[in-house]
Amino acid sequence: MFGKMKFVGGLLFLTLLLVYACASKQGSGYVFPSIHPEELEPGRPICSDCHEENDRIVYARFNHTATFTDNHRLLAYQYEQACNMCHQQQFCDDCHGVRVDEKPSQKNKTSTFRRTPHRGDYLARHRIDGRVDPTSCFRCHGNPKTAETCAPCHG
């Protein structure tokens, strides 16, 4: 009962906040556009080539370097809307979908430029990476649904 009240209270708070935000006469700060204002050339974007560092975000942190796929976690936590300018959810769901049958490297076998995780022998190598740093496994496989791929061996 208390849980339901908190949920309803949360929704009420959300609605009031929405009304306040809509009625606000104050000028708004910088918000990310829904899509990147200029069409980007195909290939890896190096954001700092065009953007200066006096904006809301540090653009160099978004440079899609060779290992950006490995390191984008902190940026997504803070600037999900910046990712959404170019990537629809289905791009993220290849790896982050709550239950996807195929490994990202299986779905996109020919996309060797995408640095998809778990490529090649990773079933064998994950025994080592998992012992060395299990926190990196937990981020994606840390709930009952995303851990279905772990269950056949780990129970």
Partner: protein, 424 residues
């Protein structure tokens, strides 16, 4: 009505309501389809080397009204096993990964999303069936809030399951952004996970950026994680030192943590990762990346080191060729490996070629100690593809070979058809 069924019905109705009044024009609807047919062999509980032919369909729908205020986004996958065996737990399977309506208000840069959605916001990295909103509050604050039922906890039913949270951020362009986030997850009416997050981004002088994230576990009342990085740009160099600290008892402590993580939440271990990456964007479109990190364990009293080097030659579009070498020096010899990779995605082919690109991947790994009697592994993938109808349709084919501790002389083939309708 079960929520799973509700999500399916909601997704269909929402799209139907948008389309039915005749608002639809070709430029407003985008449909993406990724269909694939694979062929390989696997052992099943009853047969050895049983042939598998799974057919996968990933379907995405994106519909935007003319005034760009209201949109619908849906995405999901389905699988048919075209052979008669028991390799898969369910012969045919599928999942709706997203199905939401989004409304952008004119004022205050506000938007709302209703339906199944994936959230990355501060401490939240979750899929939920529910409502979320984002709004700018004045010139230096913005806020996001969400609530609903977590998709990840559907295995034991959804009664008493909920997820609630949000993030508020204060920022000054060119200087800083500071975010405070909260997430609470309940499963079967008991607290499963409750975290408070603090994230920061600083724009420092001399092209130096600093950012990171800390999370506090409110159920165990202790810090779960601190992860911070700096970014220094100096000419064609980009240097990224980073530091991560984890306390296992607080990081893995969710009551629904699956195995093998559940066991780690009772070890009292603390993990410290410290390292740096250097990227060099050299002449002739070369990119060189060097990475080194030390992974230290408090209780195990030992450490592991990983060092890697990567060289890529980038050409136009995504055309590239690269090599990578990585060495894991584990705390014990069973955690050692040496990995080498060479990869190609090549679009500069003569016009007489029947395909537009070729791709290749070679991965060789040697293990410090044998795994199931194997000391090394080999993986080779060869692919090619061609587009049709002004690139609306792409056909891709790949052939893989692997020999590793799990699969001995394993061959697989895959044919993919990707179709996009309505993309301008």
């Amino acid at each position: 009505m079960k929520i799973e069924k509700f999500v399916k019905v909601f997704s269909c109705c929402a799209l139907g309501c948008l389309i039915a009044p005749g608002w639809l024009t070709a430029g407003q609807l985008e449909v993406t389809s990724h269909s694939s047919l694979a062929l390989y062999e696997r052992d099943t509980s009853t047969d050895k080397s049983s042939t598998l032919i799974p057919f996968y369909e990933y379907l995405g729908l994106n519909y935007l009204t003319d005034d760009e205020a209201l949109s619908f986004y849906g995405y999901g996958w389905g699988r048919l096993n075209l052979t008669d065996n028991n390799y898969y737990e369910q012969k045919n399977d599928g999942e709706i990964l997203a199905g939401y309506l989004k409304y952008r208000f004119d004022k205050a840069n506000t938007s709302m999303m209703l339906g199944r959605q994936q959230l990355f916001s501060g401490v939240a990295n979750a899929s939920l069936d529910g409502l979320s909103m984002q709004a700018a509050l004045g010139a230096s604050f913005d806020i996001s809030l969400y609530g609903g039922s977590p998709v990840a906890l559907t295995e034991d039913g959804r009664s008493g399951d909920s997820i609630l949270g949000g993030r508020i951020a204060n920022y000054r362009s060119g200087l800083y952004e500071l975010g405070l986030s909260y997430k609470k997850v309940r499963n079967d009416s008991t607290d499963d996970d409750e975290k408070l997050g603090l994230d920061i981004s600083l724009n420092l002088p001399y092209s130096i950026g600093f950012g990171g994230f800390s999370s506090f576990n409110m159920l165990t009342e202790s810090w779960a994680e601190h992860s911070y990085e700096m970014l220094v740009q100096a000419g064609s160099f980009q240097i990224r030192p980073f530091l991560q600290l984890f306390q296992y008892d607080d990081y893995f402590s969710s009551t629904d943590s699956p195995n093998p993580f559940k066991l780690l939440a009772t070890t009292g271990e603390e993990l410290t990762v410290i390292g740096a990456e250097v990227d060099w964007f050299g002449a002739e479109s070369y990119e060189v990346n060097l990475k080194a990190k030390n992974i230290d364990y408090d209780l195990r009293g030992d450490s592991s080191q990983y060092i890697s080097g990567l060289v890529i030659k980038h050409l136009e579009d995504l055309c590239q060729v690269g090599i990578e070498l990585g060495v894991m020096n584990g705390d014990t010899s069973q955690n050692d490996y040496l990995m080498g990779r060479a990869f190609v995605y090549w679009t500069r082919l003569p016009e007489s070629f029947p395909v537009e690109f070729i791709s290749s991947d070679l991965i060789l790994v040697g293990y410090g100690e044998d795994i199931y009697g194997q000391s090394n592994s080999t993986f080779i993938s060869l692919g090619a593809g061609k587009t049709f109808f002004a690139k609306a349709l792409a056909l891709k084919f790949s052939l893989d070979y692997s020999s590793d501790p799990y699969f001995d002389n394993d061959f697989s083939a895959k044919l993919v058809a990707e179709y996009t309708y309505g993309k301008e």
